[in-house]
Point group: C2
Chain length 393, copies 2
C-alpha cells in the first residue's frame, strides 16, 4: 500500500551506513580506541574558526525578520550575485545571478538538476567508481543510469568507454572530480577530450549536458588542478556544496551553477526552478546563504587530510597493498588482495578495520578507505593493517 | 529536451509570487509606504529573542565537527527523541524517536510523506481552499489531486463532500488547520466525524492515511483549539514546521511525525526514509535541529497578528465586506463583491492594495489578505480599502 521503491530504499540502508552502525556498536563493546572506522566521508577537520564567528556576527547584525525569512526560491539575489561573481573571478566565466540557484547541499543540487534535465527513459552516463546515490537520484528522476568503467589503476576517464555508452537517449554525463571513492582528479586533457566527444555527439543526436559534481574541488593535494568544465563546454552545469571545503555537511548549503553560454540556458534554469519547487525545497537555509558570502575563499585545514593520506598510503604500500594515487578528496581506493573485495572488507573487520567494498561504488576488486579521521586513529590502526596484510602473504 | 513539466512550473511563477514581484517594482516607483502588500505569508513578527541567543550559545558550546556534521538521515537521535517526548507530553500520544523524521520544513515534510505513501495513480483528497503547492507536491509524487469544497462562509469540513470524493484509489486525505488561506480551524467534532468516515472507508476498501499539515498550530486566537489527529485516528501523519511559530521560514526546519498506533508504521517510516533519500534531502540542517530542542515551547509574539486581524477584519466589515471568521493562521479570506475575484483583486491593485484571488487556492469568489504585516501598514491601507469599497456601492 506504500510506494514500494521508497520502502525498499528505506529498508536497505546503504552498506556504508550499515558498516558505520556496526562500528558504533562495536566501539561500545570493545572501546572507542580499538575500532578503526574508515567508513564515512564526514569531514574530521573542524570548520574554519571564522565560520562560527561569522554566524554570530550575522545573527547580531541582521534584522531577524530578514535573516530568518524566506529568500527567493532560487536564493537571495545578493547571494546569487556574489556567487556568480566569485565563480567568474576564479574561472574567467561570464555568469550572472540568474545562472546560480542556491540549494540545500550537493544532493539537492543533483536531484534538482536531474529533475530539470530528465524525461522518463533519458540516460545518464556516469564513470565508475561513483558515489552510490547517483544511481538513486537518476532513477528517482525517471532516468536510466548507465555506468562506464574508468582506466584501471588511475581511475582517469576512459574516453572510448564513454563514447560507446553514448546513445541518442543520453541526456547527461555526470562526473565527480576529485572523485569519491577513488580520489582521482581528471586532468585538463581528459576533460577537453570528453567535451569534444560530447560536442560531436550533441551535434549528431540531441544535446548532452555535462554535470560536474564537485564538493571536493578545494580538497586537492600536490598542486593538483581541477579544470572548470564551463571553460571547455557550453552545455555544462556545476553542482557544488560547501560541505567539504567548510566542513559543514550537516548544514545543507550548496548551489547549482548553469553555464551562461548554454544555448538553452533560460529554459534549463526555469526547469531547475520548477524541479526545486516540485521536490519541496522552497529555499536554501537563509542563515547559511548569508554565511557563505562572508566566508568565501576560506577552506578548512586540509593539511591534516594530506598528512593522513601520506602516512596511510605510504604505510599500506610498504605492507604490499596497491594504493591508487589520490590527487584529491579524502579517500584511498585500494586494490583488494583477493578477487572479492567484500571478503577482503570482512576480513579487515575481523581486525577491527572498517572499510567499504568498491562494489557499492560500481567497481569490484577495490575498497574505499575514508581518511577524514584523526591522525591518532591512523597511527593506532597501522598494526591492525599489518596483521591484515600478513594474512595475504 | 528538458523535463517539460518542471520547465512549465519554473516559468509560471505562482500568482502570489507574481504579485509580490509586482509590489516590489511598484514600491520602487511610488514609495514603500504607498503600496499595501498583503500578498505573502512571510512572518512579520521577529523570532523570539531566545532564538538568536540559543544559536550563539550552541555555536559557542558545541564541538564544531559534531555541530556542523551530518546527522542521521532521519535526524539526530536525541533531537527526534526530544520531539517525540514533547508531542507525547502535549497530546498524550505514545511516540518514540522512530516515529519522528526531521525535515527541511513543511514542504519537505509533505513531499517526503507523499513520496512514501503514493504509487502512481493513487488519489489524495484535499479540502478547498488549500495551499496551492499541495497540488504540485501530489502530482510530482505521481498522485492524483482531488479537491473537495468546504462549507461556504466558515470553510469548515464538508463531510458529505469528502465522503463522495473517496474511492478505492484514495490513499490519503490532506488537511491544513489552521488553514491557509481561510484561517479556519477544524473543530474536534468535525475531525472525529472525518476520522470515523476514513475508518469505515479503510475497512471497506484499502487503508487511507490522514495527513495534517500544521505549520500554523500555534498561531491561533480567542482560545481556539486545534485537535491532534493522532488522538482520533491511527493511520495519521503530522507534517510540522517551525517556520511560523518561531518565525524561521527561511531556515527550513520541521518534522514528520508518524502515529505509533498506525498498523503499518514500520513500513511507512521506511518509506519516509527512502523518499527523503531519493529526493536528495540527506538531513535537516544540523544547527537548527539542535536549536529547536533549546527553544521548545517558545512562540513568536502572535498578539501582533491578532491585533492586525481584529483591526482589519472589523474595519473591512464596517466597509461592507464579508470577512470569514478566522480562528488561526494570519490570513483573512474575504468574499469578493463581484463574482470574479480576479477582477476584484485587479481593482484593489489600482488602489495599491495587493491581495490574492482565491482561485489560486481552489476557491473562486474570494480573496486572501495576508495580515502578517506591520500594524502601521494596516492603518495606512484603510483609506485605500475605503475607496475600494466605494467602487462597489
Amino acid at each position: 500500500m506504500f510506494n514500494q521503491k521508497n520502502v525498499a530504499l528505506g529498508e536497505t540502508r546503504s552498506s556504508i551506513r550499515e558498516l558505520f552502525e556496526y562500528g558504533r556498536k562495536r566501539k561500545a563493546e570493545i572501546g572507542e580506541d580499538n575500532v578503526f572506522d574508515f567508513s564515512l566521508g564526514n569531514p574530521s577537520v573542524p570548520a574554519p574558526k571564522e565560520v562560527n564567528e561569522c554566524i554570530k556576527e550575522i545573527v547580531d547584525n541582521t534584522d531577524p525578520v530578514l535573516l530568518h525569512g524566506y529568500t527567493s526560491a532560487q536564493g537571495d539575489f545578493s547571494v546569487r550575485d556574489f556567487v556568480a561573481k566569485s565563480i567568474n573571478r576564479r574561472f574567467g566565466t561570464g555568469l550572472d545571478a540568474d545562472c546560480v540557484y542556491m540549494t540545500c547541499g550537493a544532493a539537492a543540487s543533483l536531484t534538482i538538476t536531474l529533475g530539470a534535465l530528465l524525461t522518463p527513459g533519458d540516460e545518464v552516463v556516469v564513470p565508475a567508481p561513483y558515489f552510490p546515490e547517483y544511481k538513486i537520484f537518476t532513477e528517482s528522476s525517471g532516468g536510466m543510469f548507465v555506468s562506464v568503467q574508468t582506466i584501471e589503476g588511475t581511475f582517469g576517464l576512459d574516453l572510448s568507454a564513454i563514447e560507446k555508452a553514448l546513445t541518442p537517449k543520453t541526456r547527461a554525463v555526470l562526473i565527480n572530480s576529485p572523485n569519491n571513492p577513488s580520489g582521482a582528479v581528471y586532468d585538463e586533457k581528459s576533460i577537453k577530450d570528453l567535451c569534444a566527444l560530447l560536442k560531436a555527439h550533441s551535434e549528431k543526436f540531441s544535446p548532452v549536458y555535462l554535470i560536474s559534481d564537485e564538493p571536493y574541488r578545494e580538497v586537492v593535494y600536490d598542486g593538483a588542478e581541477v579544470p572548470y568544465i564551463m571553460n571547455h563546454y557550453d552545455r555544462s552545469i556545476v553542482c557544488y556544496s560547501y560541505s567539504k571545503c567548510l566542513s559543514l555537511p550537516g548544514e545543507r548549503i550548496g548551489y547549482i551553477a548553469v553555464n551562461s553560454e548554454a544555448e538553452e540556458k533560460g529554459k534549463l534554469y526555469a526547469g531547475i526552478c520548477g524541479a526545486g519547487r516540485a521536490l519541496g525545497f522552497v529555499c536554501a537555509p537563509s542563515l547559511f546563504q548569508r554565511l557563505i558570502v562572508k566566508t568565501d575563499g576560506l577552506v578548512s585545514d586540509i593539511s591534516i587530510y594530506k598528512a593522513n593520506r601520506d602516512r596511510l598510503s605510504s604505510r599500506l604500500t610498504e605492507l604490499g597493498f596497491e594504493v591508487a594515487r589520490a590527487g584529491g578528496a579524502f579517500y584511498l581506493f585500494v586494490k583488494s588482495p583477493e578477487p572479492d573485495a567484500k571478503k577482503f572488507a570482512e576480513r579487515a573487520k575481523s581486525h577491527e578495520i572498517l572499510i567499504v567494498p568498491g562494489d557499492d561504488f560500481g567497481k569490484e576488486g577495490y575498497v574505499r578507505i575514508s581518511y577524514c579521521v584523526s591522525p591518532e586513529m591512523i597511527e593506532r590502526s597501522l598494526p591492525a593493517f599489518e596483521s591484515l596484510a600478513k594474512e595475504y602473504r
